[in-house]
Subunit: 323 residues, 2 copies
Amino acid sequence: MNKIVRYRDLIEKALSGIILDRKPDRLYQPISYTLKLGGKRLRPILTLMACELFGGNINEAINPALGLEIFHNFTLLHDDIMDEAPLRRGHVTVWQKWDPNVAILSGDTMFALAYKYVSLVKSKNLPEILDTLTQTAIEVCEGQQYDMDFEIRDDVMISEYLEMIRLKTAVLLGASVKIGALIANANNSNTRLIYDFGVNAGIAFQLKDDWLDAFGNPEKFGKNIGGDIRANKKTYLYLKCLEKADNSDRQILVKLFHDKSKSAKKVDDVLKLYAKYCIRQETIDEMEYFFGKSLDLLEQINAPRNLKNEIIEFAEWLYKRDH
Amino acid sequence: MNKIVRYRDLIEKALSGIILDRKPDRLYQPISYTLKLGGKRLRPILTLMACELFGGNINEAINPALGLEIFHNFTLLHDDIMDEAPLRRGHVTVWQKWDPNVAILSGDTMFALAYKYVSLVKSKNLPEILDTLTQTAIEVCEGQQYDMDFEIRDDVMISEYLEMIRLKTAVLLGASVKIGALIANANNSNTRLIYDFGVNAGIAFQLKDDWLDAFGNPEKFGKNIGGDIRANKKTYLYLKCLEKADNSDRQILVKLFHDKSKSAKKVDDVLKLYAKYCIRQETIDEMEYFFGKSLDLLEQINAPRNLKNEIIEFAEWLYKRDH
């Protein structure tokens, strides 16, 4: 994992040099603030690793990697307005610290900056690289809209939920590795395989997020356990429990998720139903399916064993995290 | 002007086929609604004309032209949220008809769709075409932020105002003709000249908008005369009057523009000050300067006389409109 730390440092350093003193202040200060909030830098690390996997020079992939991180942060900025989220990574969100208009416009600018940085690469594949960003951006917006639609729908199916998280979260991980592969001139078959690896791993990571919210280590997760339950968020856990519960329990669960209360008792009541219907294990089974599929796809890729192992190690570290 | 009508029909037809029945509804219906609201379709027409001017095939320029129109409409969608505008082209704005979240996300999707359509061109200049879109998008955001900053500033200089309208409005007209030129493989000198033509004409058109708000034909403009004055908008007219007025009048003008009233008397009082300081003619002089400069630049372009004349005719028709 030394390489991951080195890649992240590389990205942090490059990101911190991007904005500096551009004007107008109220446009660029929120961008600078957002990019400095940190995070795992998962997407740009994946771009660099995929580029290296196919024999590319990671120095050529740095700018597109930054572009993907800027794109991801743009989506967070706009999502936080839509979700009225007060905090992001422990800091006040931009729409709260400045105002919603500033967050809209700084986000728009970050979207354009994402294209700027993804374009800063010498590659005959530039058109396909940019098409990947565009197609991904459209799908991420579709995923976010489905997510908002689900808030007011009572008939969401598990298949629809999985498609929503594929669009909202997973395709950007797919795009991150695909763009790394395209920079390294990987062949079509390998490019497709690494994209599908990223998408399937992304679905597994999101299911793990859902799972941690209910079953994470309380000492590390602290008081945040049950945040999705308090917010009545229809995660995989909720939908699976709804599917398995008998009529009476289903009515109780639906009622709990229409309750505006954020009490510990509500969380307890829901967790008891999850326990009764083995939702802990059901969710593990589902995420194992997607994570296993992602590793199978990675195995099919024609690339050096040691580099494939590094990606597996990174993916397993993300997958096995307990907070 | 028959050609303009033909080009506009071509664009309307192509635009109406773009969205159709894509899902989710709450993402794509607002986009479809926005693109059907009409407008002059100025930007895509300019792209087609510039492409033709340099011997290109306008069929190859249609998709990028659509992309520029989609981009323009994306900026309007987000501007309307920020300005809390109830109407756009006589119809309810998206954030009012749906809600602000829908307008944010549909706008984001339109931004991505703009890239999608601008990319749909077979051209060795594709990287420069996309760079033009990206640089323009960043500048348009900067212009919008300056515009919002000016609302709460009392020390805006005319030079700053001109820079703001260059960024917010004019560079997109420059980009529209530049992209047409790039599709037609115009040489560097011609590409630069047509871009500068578009930017200077764009500044003139915006000054004309400012002018019409105060001095437009009241029969055609109807009750909308003085909308900028009622909204305390610091246009060129206001800033020029501030510059020329004596101390006492300057204080009166500043006070009028801090007044929340939208009364006819307020409009009258401001118009009297504008009359006293010849703001009508001052603004004409300024816009003549930019419009004249744009025509000088066009003259320097090496291209067929008859096609240059068609662009001049179109620009003059836009410039001389009285409503």
